[in-house]
């Protein structure tokens, strides 16, 4: 790829890896939380909803700082995970964690709307036809929320690609390890002669964002037709 310099290419590849891992790893949890919020009434419902939405409302720097305090090598969770070989601080995995936390509320919101649109009477009908609860979820509920799932994942991926504040606060801006496209653009703009590489990264960002939206619309149309 001659259009991009090695540092820029590194940032693009890292951004894609971080965003994909963040989206795919948090999707099952997002489905579970969306299902809980859409279908169950329990004590602490509002509290769970509030906690899930917190990263959307808090300044990203605050989220990044809280992640650093919790998952840093001396943090309560980070110090427990370190002996197991799982380290987040100043690693690309930390960038993925920050991206996942920041995009989580958007994914949950989109998927929750999907669950709320599924007619529970269809699930009741499936039960009378011999399906167990897990079978009903897999054969009726999940296929019906597929468009919402695709929308939530795309939204989450786009948010992860653009995540800046929490990432730079939590894992800093280390080229090749934690320098994603937004933090790379920021770094280029801070250095003399960085305008041209910054501009190239900006263009790549736009192409990837547009590509993700178009792909998700195509997938949603296909699942709607099915």
């Amino acid at each position: 790829m001659s259009f991009l310099g090695p540092a820029e290419w590194q940032a693009v590849a890292l951004s894609l890896r971080v965003s994909l891992v963040a989206t795919l790893a948090s999707l099952p949890l997002a489905i579970a939380v969306a299902w809980l919020l859409a279908r169950k009434r329990f004590p602490g419902h509002s509290l769970l909803s509030g906690i899930v939405h917190l990263p959307l409302i808090l300044p990203p720097v605050v989220t990044g700082y809280l992640l650093l305090q919790t998952f840093g090598t001396r943090g309560p969770v980070g110090s427990l995970l370190q002996p197991l070989g799982i380290v987040f601080a100043f690693r690309w995995t930390g960038a993925a964690l920050a991206a996942a936390v920041m995009s989580f509320p958007l994914m949950v919101r989109a998927i929750r709307l999907g669950f709320e649109a599924v007619d529970p009477r269809l699930e009741q009908a499936a039960a009378t036809l011999g399906a167990s609860r897990p079978a009903i979820f897999l054969t009726v509920t999940l296929p019906l929320i597929l468009p919402a799932l695709v929308a939530g994942a795309t939204l989450g991926f786009a948010k992860a690609m653009g995540e800046f504040g929490a990432t730079i606060t939590f894992v800093s801006n280390i080229p090749g390890e934690t320098q994603t496209m937004p933090t790379a653009i920021y770094a280029f703009l801070q250095s003399p002669g960085g305008d041209a590489p910054a501009m190239r990264l900006v263009m790549i960002s736009i192409v990837i964002a547009m590509g993700a939206v178009i792909l998700s619309e195509m997938l949603a149309r296909r699942t709607a037709r099915k």
Partner: protein, 351 residues
């Protein structure tokens, strides 16, 4: 032998349910006004609602027993449920909807070809539910329920959402179901017409209680129970056989209530059929009437009087006539009195 034995109580805001009935083979109609607890009753039987107390058993297998803490989930009850709104899976074709139960119940698909043939679903198999008419949806839903290998079929007003033409389209399929599939059916309805055409047993539900349960024929001819089915719609069912055709085209019909003449029916001589004689289509006279345009005058004897409803025995059959209470008094219509029943019209309900 009774196939279904259901007795339970359940408290709702605004309605106390206290239901007890047995359903034999054939179609058992749960009849009553809206909000009386019909749908709740079949939901409890199908396991979609857990009653407060009670006992529900199907062919000797206990589905629910509050004392013994038995409460089988819907999937373990083998009860096919046809909902008023069909509830087909929108992301599957008709064929996939029909085959859905066979994913969970071994042997559920063995009747596929027979059910598809019975309900004429062949031309619909590749279609999606959103392209089906209301009648086609309901036929598919009936097929799907039949293909779940059920021991009992429950139907919640399967015709209520359809217009007149679609109702007439589905009704013959339900009659075939009754006559060809040896499966007990619980049929929820508030339409006297449907119940009269389809049911063999009647369970009358009023304000959460079973007001009457028994064979439909007896209920339709009972002066105390019949009127609950609607004073304008109630009428006795009489078995009959088509006789010779008169030179003017009128057809002789040998009924259990006596010989009658009907306008051309198009049915061949010897055909067995059932006639429905609406209570308000019968006029009563103590003396043999003369100079009447009505052709069918049956000798009868009063057996029961309730308000303006008079039950009569004519030949082998029981009839129900609706007159005014003033006429009951003026004619002295008391049990034992003999009279003449002038039948203005009779409708064929089953042939």
């Amino acid at each position: 032998m009774s196939m279904l034995d259901a007795r339970f109580t359940h408290r709702f805001p605004g309605l106390d349910l206290d239901i007890a009935f047995r359903a034999p083979a054939g179609i058992t109609a749960l009849f009553g006004p809206s909000g009386c607890g019909k749908t709740t009753t079949i939901n409890a039987i199908a396991g979609l609602l857990r009653p407060d107390r009670g006992h529900i058993a199907l062919e000797g297998c206990v589905l629910f027993d509050s004392d013994r803490r038995v409460n089988l989930p819907p999937r373990a009850r083998r009860i096919g449920y046809v909902f008023q709104d069909a509830r087909l899976f929108p992301h599957m074709t008709v064929a996939a909807n029909l085959r859905y139960p066979s994913r969970f119940r071994r042997g559920a698909a063995r009747d596929f070809d027979r059910v598809v043939g019975l309900l004429d679903l062949g031309p619909l198999l590749d279609r999606r539910p959103d392209t089906l008419s209301g009648g086609e949806k309901q036929r598919t839903a009936i097929g799907r329920a039949l293909l779940s290998d059920p021991a009992l079929l429950v139907m919640d007003e399967p015709l209520a959402a359809l217009d007149r033409a679609r109702k007439d389209e589905i009704m013959p399929w339900l009659e075939r179901l009754r006559d060809e599939v040896r499966l007990p059916i619980l049929y929820v309805s508030h339409s006297t017409d449907e119940v009269t055409r389809l049911a063999t047993t009647l369970v009358l539900i009023e304000a959460g209680r079973v007001a009457h349960a028994g064979p439909l024929d007896e209920a339709l001819a009972d002066a105390a129970i019949g009127p609950h089915l609607g004073t304008r719609e109630v009428g006795a069912l009489v078995s009959a056989r088509i006789g010779a055709t008169e030179p003017d085209g009128m057809q002789r019909v040998l009924t259990d209530a006596g010989p009658m003449l009907l306008p051309p029916t198009g049915l061949p001589e010897g055909r067995e059929l059932r006639l429905r004689i609406l209570a308000h289509e019968i006029i009563l006279a103590r003396e043999a009437p003369l100079g009447l345009s009505a052709l069918n005058i049956l000798q009868a004897q009063v057996t029961q009087v309730q308000g303006g409803f008079v039950q009569l025995r004519a030949g082998q059959a029981l009839l129900l006539a609706q007159v005014t209470e003033r006429s009951v008094a003026a004619l002295g219509l008391t049990p034992g009195a003999s009279c003449h029943a002038i039948v203005k019209s009779a409708a064929i309900v089953r042939s």
